[in-house]
Assembly symmetry: C2
Homo-oligomer: 348 residues x 2
């Protein structure tokens, strides 16, 4: 099936809490035209990532929000179908940021050409892309792991967490994962080689975590927040470091949680145990991209770093797939396969 039409998913309304189907709208438009210096891309894979929830809110976050009626933003792997830029030809596969749609136009300077011979092109959205570099830079720069230390990471089976724990192992640390199912924990220890993994949905999670970190926690790589964080905090060692990378458990909160204000406890822990908390996004360490690739590409080639993808077929599945991220229902890097690679000319 091919078409001259472009399907795209736009933000129809700002979600209240967990995103709902009616917050999005699938539209059809003509395929856009590229101008000089631009390429027309056919989306092969769309990356779905937790940060996108923040872009749906009106308030300021890392970046300006997606406006109502705009195409949802997102990183993609696409095929060049039309090029008005030097150095890029139809059939080239590129990493772009063309969003939740079948076709997108991009400035050639904003895309990166991928070599399908070097690694599967989807790795540009995962282990060799933003999530992998997020794990790498957060752990190395903020975590500063030293041999023998204990590194705990939440969302351990996810795109970022799986990289964090495996690099911790390479750096001579004890790696402890936190994940949301027995199956994920099995993958984390057996496939990824973490020393231990604890299921946060189990009764006795707090005790199991303490048992898995008998020497306390030196680095906690924070992806989730919520009660996982509350279980980690008492175990943090003197001079512990907490790279704050994500807070998936909080993104859909609409009301502050009532009860006890734990800020005094948190600040007291920071003070008396001299903890470092630092928030970051991968862009803060953009200058380290070459270093990241120099380390990561051989690790991947040599099997020291493994990864798992959770691939959903069809752009029309993007919304339901995205919602799974916040229920812990994805298992590995979540991708939407929007199209298969084919002949360069659309509608031909």
């Amino acid at each position: 099936m091919h078409t001259t039409r472009n399907r795209r998913i736009v933000l129809a309304a700002r979600p209240k809490g967990e995103p709902a189907d009616e917050d999005f709208r699938l539209e059809e438009t003509d395929i856009p035209s590229s101008a000089g210096g631009q390429v027309l891309l056919r989306t092969l894979y769309l990356s779905l990532d937790p940060y996108m929830r923040g872009r749906m809110n009106a308030g300021p976050s890392y970046a300006p929000p997606v406006e109502i009626g705009q195409v949802m933003q997102g990183a993609t792997v696409g095929e060049v179908v039309e090029s008005k830029a030097a150095g890029l030809q139809p059939g080239d596969i590129v990493l772009a940021y063309s969003g939740w749609q079948d076709y997108g136009v991009a400035d050639a300077r904003s895309v990166r050409k991928l070599d399908p011979q070097l690694a599967p092109v989807t790795t540009a959205l995962g282990v060799l892309g933003m999530p992998g570099m997020t794990g790498y830079t957060g752990l190395v720069n903020i975590g500063q792991p030293k041999p023998g230390e204990t590194v705990v990471v939440s969302s351990a089976a996810g795109a970022v967490g799986s990289v964090v724990g495996q690099i911790a192992k390479i750096r001579g640390c004890r790696a402890v994962g936190i994940a949301g199912s027995k199956e994920k924990c099995g993958f984390v220890t057996e496939e990824l080689g973490f020393d231990a993994c604890v299921n946060y949905r189990d009764d006795g999670f707090e005790q199991a975590l303490a048992a898995a970190a008998p020497n306390g926690i030196d680095i906690y790589f924070e992806n989730v927040g919520g009660r996982v964080f509350q279980a980690v905090l008492p175990l943090m060692n003197l001079f512990g470091r907490v790279p704050v990378c994500g807070l998936v458990a909080h993104y859909n909160l609409t009301m502050p949680s009532r009860g006890v204000d734990r800020v005094p406890m948190l600040m007291t822990a920071i003070l008396t145990r001299r903890l470092t908390f630092r928030g970051f996004i991968v862009g803060d360490f953009a200058a380290q991209r070459d270093e990241f690739m120099r380390d990561m590409a051989p690790w991947l080639r040599d099997g020291k770093i493994k990864y798992r993808e959770d691939v959903v077929d069809g752009l029309e599945q993007a919304v339901s797939a995205f919602k799974r991220l916040f229920r812990g229902q994805n298992f590995g890097k979540l991708l939407v396969r929007v199209a298969q690679k084919r002949d360069p000319k659309p509608g031909a």
Copy 2:
């Protein structure tokens, strides 16, 4: 008046909340004897500092707690009255850690001889001592001030805060103090040279703070916690730094405060604004003592750094003076003048 007896204040009970008179006991004992390598010290000045509240609790903090029946710990300036150690003679004035008592015995290696010609000896307990070095090392290492940035410090008229703001000015920053009275704020701006100071007891404190930091806050040097912190957090700039030095508003908390749990908000601020929070105590930067003195001594001599002392007379006043620290009733570095310098031999 002199005596052969030693008065000392011991911890009689662990305070619940704010320390009460009955948590302490004034005892009389014989003057202790020094052994080889030791000196007998007559306390001239006792330093009272907020960290002492933590030592009164049973739980672990920076250091082991004071046991019930033990002399309250504290830094002192004392006069050597008896020396069994080379290099120290009766009449020498030293910085020691001999606690809340008239006389103390100390290993000679644990004291530091002071030169009364270089600076008033009380400065060894304040601007040239632990509080001054706390402000210096926390601001320089964690705050990392850059010219043009805005530095906000709570307890701005206090021993640590006054140093932080003045160094911020020396480093070319905008210095904004937070203090608890109009008089203190006047001192902070007029004497210490901060650009602004806001009274946290005033109605409209939050608005006044925002107005005093029109470009937002790059560094917040945290001494207090509580609602001052809640007012600061929304003003923190991208990549802001928060050296967590003290939490005076929390030390006497016995119950978690009910209401809204602000931890998700705090973590979200850390993440989206990429803030760094780091707890520290001055001992973490002990290796920088020479650097501190190289900077601070000339600043003090040249009048670039000013200080204020709040001196209470008589060891028996120590408890009531200490309680003032938590009510914001001290004004400057709080000291107890335990005795005047006099002839070296006690009871002579």
